[in-house]
Amino acid sequence: MSKPTTEMAATETSPSEVVPPLRQSLIARLARNRLSLVGAFLVAVAGFMALSAPFLPLADPNAVNTADRLADIGSPGHLLGADELGRYILSRLFWRARITLAVSLAATAIAMTVGTIMGLVSGYLLGWADTVISRVVDVLMAFPFFLLALSEIAILGPGLLNGMPAVALVNVPFFARIVRGTTLTLRESDFVLAARGMGAGHSRILFRHILLNSVSTLIIATTLNIGWMITAAAALSLLGLGVQPPTSDWGTMLASGRQYLSAPPHTSLLPGLVIFFTVLGFNLLGDGLRDALDPRMREV
């Protein structure tokens, strides 16, 4: 079916105008999917909030104004109202985006790095290394996701720096499994056999050939993972096990607002909405990237 179409296209347009689908840029393929554009926009908004906070004329996010306690949305001088200590919610949402996103991105980076190395070694070396790593991954996956994070916090104690590796650890098996799968396929591919035949060493084959060819899979997995990381980090803060006062993130904002639900509920609803839209953004973008880069992963 495709051949006649190509021939027809070639006769009606000049060769330079014909763009083979595979050569279309990632952005062009993403742009065809409107939902992924919405996702990219939501992620950009969250990124803007985190990056622009120091440069915008925002009020001090920690300044306590008891006279303005629980000020409603739209009240004079408080576009998004004030929390239980009279602190400006708009300003706090912008400033706290930095910690929320930093923790989530750092946790994703840790999980991706550790998981990728485990997956590469396991899928490439096979033998006892594969057996050991696969069993470790099996055990980690035997824990309900959030329970594993709680177990690690039980060992290390609550706190920002302990919460980060805890949510990262939960996702190590996710990356390890995916990378092991692609490594198993790629290690038998012609170009890897050719590289081996030309005398390339293990590290060159692993990092130059196999890892580089796994990048698109990794990008999809990472984007889909960040949403979960944001939710998990916020949930830990909500339970009082993540970020500790006086530092706060969107999760702690929501936790403190939860105590005042009978008052105007915006103190907890606004941080909740911001978390929801950011997670939705990463999920939509991840879905779009998956469809654009690797449609075979659609049901993963």
Partner: protein
């Protein structure tokens, strides 16, 4: 099937062993000496030393592990350092509450998720299909704590239809009180799973509906309702059961947050408190029980999977 069952059972042994190692290591990996931690900062050096000896902490780690595992198998999980009660009866009581919550969430997820998925596939490209899938898409990204707080605000505080916390009224109650208390937390916990199930069921059904045997059934004059609910659903159920099994772990983990938001007296809420109080025997018991039950749920899902699709057990 028997060979498959035995093989699959054997696979759980190294996993259970790994879980036990992790749980055992919990107390030893924590900073500071376990005896110091259990007795607090004001304990004398002699009492710490005595506890170290009583707990067997002065023995080699392997010996300690074997003794600890032996006690666990017999159901002796030690005493809670905060409540000063035996751990096992306490976590069993809490675990029952968590199972009620998880079962409620799973029921909601299956009824609504699978039901909406089937209807969306049957009426593909209809308004119902588009709206349902848009809601499901948003639902997947909805954090449990946010759904919970929104549910409390709308249904408990504004409309006053349902209670916002606890499992029974303060003065006690019957099964109907339990069900009334269960609705909000179960729907909150099951919402994400329902959204995922709806999307997966729709795509699985759409794939099955296009198969030759469905066309044959229609050509033979089988009614549309029977084609969808018997012929198509049975074959789509393999995907549904797989997703359901994966969701169980999410529900057990998510119950920690749901129980905290709705003050549900389950094992998750207990563990958060135990972690904050550094009550290690309680945390160890809770983690061991939940992780072990998760392993057996996965085993049950795999067996169900093999029963639904005979190709699996022979491959």
């Amino acid at each position: 099937m028997r060979k498959y069952l035995l093989g699959r059972l054997a696979q759980t042994i190294p996993v259970l062993f790994g879980i036990s190692i992790l749980v055992f290591a919990m107390l030893h990996l924590a900073p500071g000496d376990p005896a110091d931690m259990l007795l607090g900062s004001e304990a004398t050096a002699e009492s710490v030393e005595k506890l170290r000896h009583d707990m067997g902490l002065d023995r080699p780690l392997v010996v300690q592990y074997v003794a600890w595992a032996g006690r666990m198998v017999k159901g002796d999980m030690g005493r809670s350092t905060v409540l000063n009660r035996q751990v096992l009866p306490e976590i069993v009581k809490r675990f029952k509450a968590t199972l009620i919550l998880t079962a409620g969430a799973l029921t909601f997820a299956v009824v609504f998720g699978v039901g909406i998925g089937i209807l969306a596939a049957t009426y593909q490209h209809s308004v119902f299909d588009s709206v349902a899938m848009l809601i499901a898409l948003a639902g997947v990204s909805m954090p449990i704590f946010f759904t919970g707080i929104a549910a409390i605000l709308i249904f408990a505080m504004d409309l006053r239809w349902l209670p916002s916390s606890g499992m029974y009224p303060a003065a006690g109650g019957d099964i109907f009180d339990l069900l009334r208390h269960l609705i909000l937390p179960a729907v909150t916990l099951g919402a994400v799973s329902a959204a995922i199930l709806a999307r997966m069921t729709r795509s699985a059904m759409l794939e099955v509906i296009r198969q030759d045997y469905v066309r044959t059934a229609r050509a033979k004059g089988v009614g549309e309702r029977r084609v969808i609910w018997v012929h198509a659903l049975r074959n789509a159920s393999i995907t549904i059961v797989t997703v359901l099994g994966m969701q169980f772990g999410y529900l057990l983990g998510g119950s920690v947050i749901t129980e905290t938001v709705f003050s549900w007296p389950g094992i998750g809420q207990m563990m958060v408190r135990a972690i904050q109080a550094r009550d290690y025997p309680m945390v160890q018991g809770g983690v061991l029980l939940v992780a072990t039950s998760f392993v057996f749920v996965n085993l049950a899902v795999d067996l169900l999977y093999a029963w639904l699709d005979p190709r699996i057990r022979y491959s």
